[in-house]
Symmetry: C2
Subunit: 166 residues, 2 copies
Amino acid sequence: MRSDARRNYERILAAAVAEVAATGADASLEKIARDAGVGSATLHRHFANRQALMEAVFHDRVETLCAQAGDLTLTDWLRAVAEFGATTRGLAASLLAAGATADSGCEAMLTDAGGALLRQAQQSGEVRAGVAITDLLTLVNAISLATQDGPEAIRLLDLALKGVAP
Amino acid sequence: MRSDARRNYERILAAAVAEVAATGADASLEKIARDAGVGSATLHRHFANRQALMEAVFHDRVETLCAQAGDLTLTDWLRAVAEFGATTRGLAASLLAAGATADSGCEAMLTDAGGALLRQAQQSGEVRAGVAITDLLTLVNAISLATQDGPEAIRLLDLALKGVAP
DNA sequence: AGACTAACCGGAGTGGCACCCCGTTTGTCA
DNA sequence: TGACAAACGGGGTGCCACTCCGGTTAGTCT
C-alpha cells in the first residue's frame, strides 16, 4: 500500500468516525469524503460501499468490547453491547445488514467472545440449554435498533433476559 | 374531496400496498407514483411524506390485528404482531419512525388492544407488574426489525418472553 | 540522480431519489 | 353552461451513491 493511499484511508476513516457519531450510520458518504479532503471516488476505492466503511468504523470499538468479555458476566457483557449499540448510532443496523449480506469480521468477534460467556453461564446453570449466542446478539441488536439512542435499551434487555412471568 | 382526487388517492394506495409487499417500506415513492399512473407531485400532495403513506398502507391490516386481540392470549397476540411485522416488510421500521416523530394512529390502536390483554394477563398472574405494553410492543417491533422477514421472529419473541433462565 | 511505471488520485458524469413550483386541466355547483 | 376553486403533473432543485478516465505521484531500479 502506497503511503498516500494509507494516509487517505486513515483520513477517511477518521472523518467517518466523527460523522457517524454525529449523524448515525446513514451519514452521507459524500460529506465524509469532503470532510476528509478527498474525492468521493477515493472513498469508494477504499471502501466499496457503505457497509465496508461502517465495518471499519466500528471494528476498533467492537474489539475492545470483546476484550472486556473476560471481566464480565454474560448479562453484563450483553448490557455493554446494548449500551454501545445504542450510543454508537447505527451499529446495530450496520451489523444487521452485515449479517444479512456478508460475513463480517465484527460479527465473528462478537459471537466468539459472547459464545464463551454463554457456555460458561450454561454450565453453571444460569442459562438454559437451547439458547444460542446468535439469538442473544440478535436480540441485543434488535433492541439497540429499536430504541435508537434512548436509555430504554438496558431496561428492555433486562426484561427480555428475565422474561415476563412473575 | 373531488372525485378525481379520491380516485388518485386510492390508486396510489393500491400501488403502494403492492410495492411495499414486494420491496419493503423503503420502496421508491416515484415508482409507486409511476405505477399508480400519477405524477409524483400528486403522491406528495396526498401523502406529505413516506411515513404518511406507510401509515395508510398499514392501517387496515393493523386494524384487523387489533380486532383479533379479543380472541387471543397476550402471548399469541404478540406472536401475531411479530409475524405480521415480519411478513409486512418494514412495518416495524415504519411504526418505529412514527413513534419517534409523531403520534401515529396505528400505534395508538396497538397499544389500546395490547394494553387490555396485558392488564388481563397481569390480573391472572401470568405477567408480573412493571411490564408496560409499550415495552412489549417495542420488543416485538425490535425483533421484527432485526429478523427482517425471516422465520426467527417467533422464536426470538418466545425467548424474550420466557427469559434465559432454566 | 533520473527515469520509468504501476498505483493512486479526484473532477466530472450517470442515474436515481424525495420533494416542490407553477402553468394547465378538471370537477362541481350555481 | 360558465366560472372558479381544487387538483393535476411536467419539469426543476438539490441531494445521494457510485463510476469513468485522464492526469499525477510514490516507490523502484539502474
